[in-house]
């Protein structure tokens, strides 16, 4: 059933959030540390095990894949609720600080991704496959 996939996904995110919040309390910061990351690792490991044991059939996977397909629309909704007015109207200090920090970090991506050998680019996909 599709709901099994959705339930596994929800369970992973909730577990990740708890771990991330607990880690935040442990470190003494008012933020979730890596909750989404832990949730992703949990989902990868858990679904891989379940699939190998034959307990995660295609119907269950569809419950996860649906949300994956909803990712871009959700991000578009997120974009439409950002505080763009403050970003644009923050004045020269805010503008320069934001732009300079982004620019410097952009320039380091090729340096870091070469550590331990450069990787091959992903094969191209057609838009239909992707959406």
């Amino acid at each position: 059933m599709i709901i099994y996939g959705v339930a596994v996904l929800a369970g992973c995110l909730l577990a990740g959030m708890v771990v991330g919040d607990a880690l935040g309390v442990l470190l003494g910061v008012e933020a979730n540390v890596g909750g989404v990351g832990f949730a992703m690792l949990l989902l990868i490991v858990l679904t891989d095990r379940m699939r190998k044991a034959g307990r995660f059939p295609q119907h269950s996977a569809e419950g996860v894949l649906f949300w994956s397909a909803m990712y871009i629309p959700i991000v578009v909704a997120m974009a439409s609720t950002q505080n763009v007015v403050s970003a644009v109207g923050g004045g020269p200090v805010a503008l320069l600080a934001g732009v300079a920090a982004t620019g410097v970090c952009w320039s380091l991506v090729p340096v870091l991704s070469r550590i331990g050998g450069a990787e091959e680019p992903l094969p191209p996909v057609s838009e239909e496959e992707e959406v």
Binding site: G20, V75, Q82, G98, V99, V104, L108, G116, E127
Partner: protein, 254 residues
């Protein structure tokens, strides 16, 4: 008319699905017919979303873009942290764990570099504009990390509300710039494989920026970028008011 508005407000999330569906359709149409597919539909859609957010913000004077208009409040649910994180985690389904393990070192390095560099760059800009005290410099640097690290650090250090507001604005500039700029910068910095995406998430750190930017570039990169970006804000909040503040204070002498 009133009846219609009432139904749409009451069923806000459904109306949001309808609106986003329409925005997606118009964006992919524009991508195909105006740019003949050179400029990706998802990138157009995200920019359209940001334009809507600006319009909404100007219209209401609020901080949540379109979601501050009651009729469009459903967008706030659909694009809120809960469903966003739910969708981000779902993109990890089917990812090969060995890929992440192989790029783990790069991810950790990118986080450390990304946080320190953002603070340093932000603090230097603050200094250039005459903020010479360590508290203001650190707070603005924190804002250059993300718009959450800014106010958390500023509050912890007791920065003035003006500086805290500036730090939030700096973080928002970064987040919007990453959302819009990633598809343009990606071919120049080799952002086309999982390892580069892990480095990207750690260097940028802004979850919304990375989530939007990678969506507009190549959705397959999302889980790798999100994996590292999710640690950034927490680590920034940890290092900012402590290690980095002490470093800046030592340099500035108080």
């Amino acid at each position: 008319m009133e009846l219609l508005a009432e139904v749409l407000i009451k069923n806000g999330l459904l109306f949001a699905f309808l609106i986003v569906g329409a925005v997606m359709w118009a964006s992919y149409y524009a991508s195909h017919h105006l740019t003949s597919g050179r400029f990706h539909g998802s990138a157009v859609a995200i920019i359209a979303g940001l334009v809507l957010a600006y319009v909404g913000g100007v219209f209401t004077g609020g901080s949540k873009g379109m979601a501050d208009i009651p009729l469009f409040a459903g967008l706030g649910v659909m694009g809120g942290a809960m469903l966003r994180d739910f969708a981000i985690v779902s993109t990890a389904y089917g990812v090969d764990l060995s890929e992440i393990r192989r790029s783990g070192l790069v991810g950790v390095l990118s986080l450390i570099l990304g946080i320190f560099l953002s603070f340093i760059v932000g603090a230097i800009i603050a200094l250039m504009f005459g903020y010479t005290d360590a508290v203001s410099m650190t707070t603005l640097g924190a804002g250059a990390a993300t718009y959450i690290v800014g106010p958390v650090t500023g509050t912890a250090l007791g920065a003035s509300s003006e500086v805290v507001a500036l730090s939030v604005a700096a973080g928002l500039v970064k987040s919007v710039l990453v959302m819009i700029g990633t598809p343009f910068i990606a071919p120049l910095i080799g952002l086309n494989n999982p390892k580069a995406a892990m480095a990207y998430g750690g260097l940028m750190g802004t979850t919304s920026g990375v989530a939007g930017g990678l969506a507009a570039t190549d959705k397959r990169l999302v889980p790798y970028g999100a994996m590292t970006a999710t640690f950034y804000t927490g680590l920034g909040c940890l290092l900012g008011p402590s290690v980095i503040y002490f470093m800046i204070r030592a340099l500035m002498g108080g």
